[in-house]
């Protein structure tokens, strides 16, 4: 029995710890099985360093043809499951071939790693960063251990941030002018604005502001587009009259948003839209969609 167990169990336990793992900010990440795990947070140009412990199970020795650690940046398309496109791949050989008899610790360091893309978990695509430790063995198959980590990149305040102002309408039926104070919002921003009703000939029941995410994957004929409504925020209840102006104030904090991603490694894009929806008493919807750019602003406090 013991023998059998031993045969299927990996020969050793590999654990990866980061140098400043105790102090580093951890962010929750949803795993494939729906579990939420906490992973350390990095940003581009940071040095990723730590220790790798390899501890053979009792009384076993691990023969190997070398130990290496890789830092991988991968894009995974769900319709093309199992295929990863590595856009970043750094390797450190940490041990020459040999045998490990007892617990052994290897320090590692990738200094100033260029990680241009943020970790992203979408509907059809996933971008992740991972440390991969491989104990290479000949016949018995290599022993591999992964440690995910999260990358978020902060950008400074955009120098130009125009408001969005637009007049739309249906002739002799509805004319509105809306204004959002910016076109670029950071993830904890507040959308402020106003909706002016210039002409109202329909009986409006209510008005919502939706935040929609448009994720497009692939390229050319194989492009997949997935649109999700992440937020539905009621701006107005009841029917306004001509001349009425309705305030807009939407806090972005409660919503699970990411920065806008444009053409990430030619694999995917994520865009955000504000969709203003007016519903009339017959439940007809009138809407106008406007793209906004989301970005991640460095938080002062953290």
């Amino acid at each position: 029995m013991n023998y059998l167990l031993g045969a299927f169990k990996p020969a050793c336990n590999i654990s990866i710890t980061f140098t400043d793992g105790k102090n580093r900010k951890q962010v929750p990440t949803k795993k494939d099985n729906g579990q939420i795990v906490m992973n350390p947070l990095f940003q581009s140009q940071e040095t990723i360093a730590g220790k790798i412990n390899i501890e053979p199970y009792q009384g076993k020795k691990v023969e190997h043809n070398g130990v290496k650690v890789e830092l991988l940046g991968q894009i995974e398309m769900y319709f093309d499951r199992g295929n990863f496109y590595d856009f970043t791949s750094l390797v450190r050989e940490i041990d020459v071939p040999g045998e490990i008899y007892e617990r052994k610790t290897y320090p590692f360091e990738f200094s100033s790693v260029e990680m241009p893309y943020e970790t992203y978990n979408g509907v059809n695509v996933r971008l992740r960063y991972v440390l991969k430790v491989t104990v290479t063995r000949g016949y018995a198959g290599s022993i591999v251990e992964y440690q995910d980590f999260v990358v978020r990149n902060y950008v400074p305040l955009p120098p130009i941030n125009n408001s969005i102002k637009m007049e739309v309408g249906i002739e002799d039926c509805l004319h509105i002018e809306f204004e959002y104070n910016k076109s670029k919002y950071h993830l904890k921003d507040v959308i402020l604005g106003k909706i002016y009703f210039l002409l109202v000939r329909i009986k409006i029941k209510n008005m919502d502001l939706e935040i929609r995410r448009r994720e497009s994957t692939g390229a050319g004929a194989n492009t997949h587009v997935e649109t999700e409504t992440l937020a539905k925020f009621e701006l107005m209840d009841g029917a306004p009259v001509r001349g009425e102006s309705i305030p807009v104030r939407v806090f972005l904090t409660p919503y699970d948003l990411t920065p806008t991603h444009k053409n990430i490694n030619n694999k995917f894009s994520v865009k955000y839209y504000l969709n203003l929806v007016l519903v009339d008493e017959e439940d007809r919807r009138y809407f106008k969609q406007q793209e906004i750019t989301l970005y991640r602003l460095k938080e002062e406090t953290s």
Binding site: K232, F233, E234, M236, D237, G238, A239, V241, P247, F251
Partner: protein, 790 residues
């Protein structure tokens, strides 16, 4: 949809809503107990979502709202205690705004906002401004109204008014005003909008529902009225113009009416006075269907009450020329609101007049001005037919009468009669009666001919037939009452100065003469007596004769003669006769023999020519005899002529008993019990004997026709006359005459009642008792009676 559903359904929906609130409130309370903020927010939002219903009428919705309101109080307590939820209030303020549905979000925001202000971590004005602005998101009229009323309620004690904790630094009372004004404006818009929803068929119901909601809007004005620190300047520059702008611009009849009413009620009187112009200008801009008159009336009522409250404020009224402004505004309203019924205009005038009378009682010209405006208005419309309008005009005309106890004041108003001209005949009469009653009540005396002229012009409805009066329609009793009033009025016209009095009499006469046969019998007698009184006054003053035109008795008698003459043509001879006799007596007192004679002549002529009824003749004869007896002015010749005539008439009466009585009455004509009166004992006796003869004849006639002679009354009466003259010392009456007359009566009685019981005549018995008594008494008179044996 709601309006089509039955009440039952609505009750069901309300029950469901309440159940929903209770259900979520239960979980909210659990979370409150556990200090679990996230859960609290979740369940409170769910609870408040019940208020999103569109199915309930305002009344039912209010019920639901109150349930939620109670729960929100609990929530507020929780929000106040940072130790329980562990979040700074500013974060809380953001957090509640994450709620996806606007209505729960706004209720929560208002609740936290009130806590936020209380914490003083932010200037109250900023929070208030934010709240009132964010509430714009709720555009549904009923939900919006209730939400904003919630906001008004939670913020009421947190306004930065003077003396409050929240005032100071950047927060001024102006911010408080601004906040309330804005909330008011928005609420009013929502309120007005209700009518534009739903089909027109349910308009009436909507009106009713809107009416139920009006106090929510009006509450804001109450708050404005109560904010400490709103001084006149601010009221004038900000509050009033803004409120009025909203009122005028909303162009809604119900709202305009209600809000104007509110404005007038909630703000202080002195503010109204100082902003009168603005306020009135707004009144003229209201929708034509708004009952502006009630609004203005209320305003004027308030102002006049204010004026009445203290004499110190009166100068303010003068300062702002309140009257001119009001008068102007009313003119404008009447001019612009063409559809306003005439009754409306009249009501306005009444109010303005009431105002004037109370505020400027000394300014008669104002009163006249109001009446003048009224005349102009009345002239612009066809004949007044609306009974209510008529009533208002009567009220308008009565007001000065009541105010000025002296009727004379009203008589100086030049427009007064012109207004009266616009009344219909019936109302004109009513008004005239009111005027007369007013005079009677105040017991005021009209003392100049001019005033009398005006007065009679006013009451001409009573004095003469107006155009189309239909005599048959008149109620006899009413007519009599009216004419009696006129008669009473004539006695109120008095002046010590004979000249003026004469003028008055002439004026009155001129008017009365137009009255026609139906009125003259009522109106001439008082006039005559009034004149006679003047004559007597002149007489007592010595009757100096000043000049040709002055008041002399002779002249007055001429007038009287002419006046009474009219009555004969009415015809009303009996009355004329009495008046002639009255005048004759007065003339006699003035020593005007020819005049007195003339009057008697007239009286006799009337008797001969006009009085045919035997009963009337009897009465007339007695009147003539009575008067003639008292008159001592005549010389022997004239007197003889007249007495002869009188006795002649007496003897020619139809019925014997009447003849008899008239004849023995004539006996007095020859015996005036005055020191220098005529005492012709012989002719007295002749008269009495003649009376006895007639009595005898009457008795015989009676027994001939009825088989029994009549009672002995006539004899007893003659006996009494005998006794009278006997006692007065007429030498031709002897005790034996009396003795024989008594026996005669006794005989008559026995022969009459021979076969039956002796039935004694009470008159006779008491006469005998009298003689006995005198005899027993003795003395000079007793001795005289001595020869008489009973």
């Amino acid at each position: 949809m709601r309006t089509l559903a039955g009440v039952e359904d609505e009750d069901k929906w309300l029950a469901e809503g309440i159940a929903g609130i209770q259900h979520n409130a239960f979980f909210m309370h659990r979370a409150l107990d556990a200090n679990n903020l996230r859960e609290v927010l979740k369940y409170s939002a769910l609870m408040l979502s019940e208020l999103r219903t569109s199915k309930l009428s305002p009344q039912k919705y209010y019920d639901l709202y109150m349930r939620a309101f109670d729960q929100l109080r609990q929530l507020e307590i929780f929000f106040k205690d940072e130790s329980r939820h562990g979040l700074p209030v500013v974060d809380l303020y953001e957090l509640v705004q994450h709620a996806g549905n606007i209505l729960p979000r706004m209720y929560l925001l208002c609740t936290v906002g009130s806590v936020y202000i209380k914490s003083k971590q932010a200037p109250s004005k900023d929070v208030l401004k934010d709240l009132v602005e964010m509430c714009r998101g709720v555009q549904h009229p009923i939900r919006g109204l209730f939400l904003r009323s919630y906001l008004a309620q939670v913020s009421r004690d947190k306004l930065p008014e003077i003396g409050s904790d929240y005032e100071g630094d950047a927060n001024t009372v102006m911010d408080a005003v601004e906040f309330v004004l804005q909330n008011f404006t928005e609420m009013n818009k929502l309120w007005v909008r209700i009518q534009h929803q739903g089909p027109g068929t349910v308009r009436e119901k909507q009106e009713k529902e809107r009416n139920e909601l009006r106090d929510l809007v009006g509450k804001n004005l109450h708050v404005l009225g109560q904010i400490e620190g709103v001084d006149l300047e601010m009221y004038k520059e900000t509050v009033l113009p803004r409120v009025l702008e909203q009122v005028v611009n909303c162009k809604d009849k119900l709202a305009q009416y209600y809000l104007m009413e509110c404005i007038i009620q909630v703000f202080p009187d002195e503010y109204h006075l100082q902003t009168l112009e603005t306020l009135l200008a707004a009144c003229t801009q209201l929708m034509p269907t708004v009952d502006t008159k009630i609004v203005l009336t209320q305003l004027m009522d308030r102002l006049s009450n204010y004026a009445a409250s203290s004499p110190d404020v009166l100068h303010e009224f003068l300062q702002v020329e309140a009257f001119a402004k009001l008068s102007n505004a009313i003119g404008k309203v009447i001019d612009t609101q063409l559809e306003m019924p005439i009754v409306g205009a009249m009501t306005l005038f009444v109010s303005l007049l009431t105002f004037t009378l109370r505020v400027h009682p000394d300014r008669l010209d104002y009163v006249d001005q109001v009446l003048g405006a009224c005349v102009v208005k009345l002239s612009s419309v066809p004949k007044l037919e609306d009974a209510r309008a008529m009533k208002q005009v009567v009220a308008l005309l009565s007001a000065p009468l009541e105010k000025y106890s002296d009727i004379v004041t009203a008589l100086t108003l030049s427009n007064y009669p012109r207004v009266m001209d616009h009344l219909d005949d019936g109302t004109n009469k009513v008004m005239a009666m009111l005027i007369i009653q007013s005079i009677m009540k105040t017991d005021s005396c009209i003392s100049t001919a001019d005033k009398v002229e005006v007065l009679f012009e006013l009451i001409k409805g009573l004095i003469k037939d107006l155009d189309e009066t239909n005599a048959e329609e008149l109620d006899e009793e009413d007519f009599q009452e009216e004419q009696n009033s006129v008669a009473r009025l004539i006695h109120m016209l008095d002046n010590e100065e004979p000249e003026e009095m004469l003028k008055i009499i002439c004026v009155v006469r001129r008017h009365l003469m137009t009255g026609g046969p139906r009125r003259l019998p009522f109106t001439v007698p008082p006039l005559v007596f009034s004149a006679v009184r003047l004559v007597r006054q002149l007489e007592s003053q010595g009757g100096d004769i000043a000049g040709e035109d002055s008041a002399t008795p002779r002249k007055i008698f001429q007038i009287l003669n002419q006046t009474i003459e009219v009555l004969t043509s009415v015809p009303c001879p009996e009355l004329a006769l009495r008046l002639y006799l009255q005048c004759a007596e007065a003339a006699s007192d003035c020593d005007l023999e020819p005049v007195a004679y003339e009057f008697f002549t007239q009286a006799f002529m009337l008797y001969e020519e006009e009085i045919a009824d035997s009963k009337a003749q009897v009465t007339a004869i007695h009147l003539i005899v009575g008067t003639l007896q008292r008159i001592n002015v005549f010389g022997v010749e004239n007197r003889d002529t007249l007495t002869h005539k009188a006795t002649g008439y007496s003897a020619r009466l139809l019925k014997k008993p009447d003849q008899c009585r008239a004849v023995y009455a004539c006996s007095h004509l020859f015996w005036v019990d005055d020191p220098d009166g005529i005492k012709d004992g012989e002719r007295v006796l002749l008269c009495l004997r003649r009376a006895l003869r007639i009595a005898n004849a009457a008795q015989q006639m009676a027994s001939a026709t009825r088989g029994s002679s009549g009672p002995v009354t006539l004899f007893v009466e003659i006996l009494n006359k005998y006794i009278y003259f006997f006692e007065k010392g007429n030498p031709h009456i002897t005790p034996s005459d009396i003795q024989s007359l008594i026996e005669l009566i006794n005989n008559e009685m026995q022969s009459d009642n021979g076969n039956t019981t002796i039935h004694s005549d009470p008159f006779f018995t008491s006469t005998l008792r009298y003689i006995k008594f005198i005899k027993q008494k003795g003395g000079l008179m007793g001795e005289k009676y001595d020869p008489i044996k009973l």
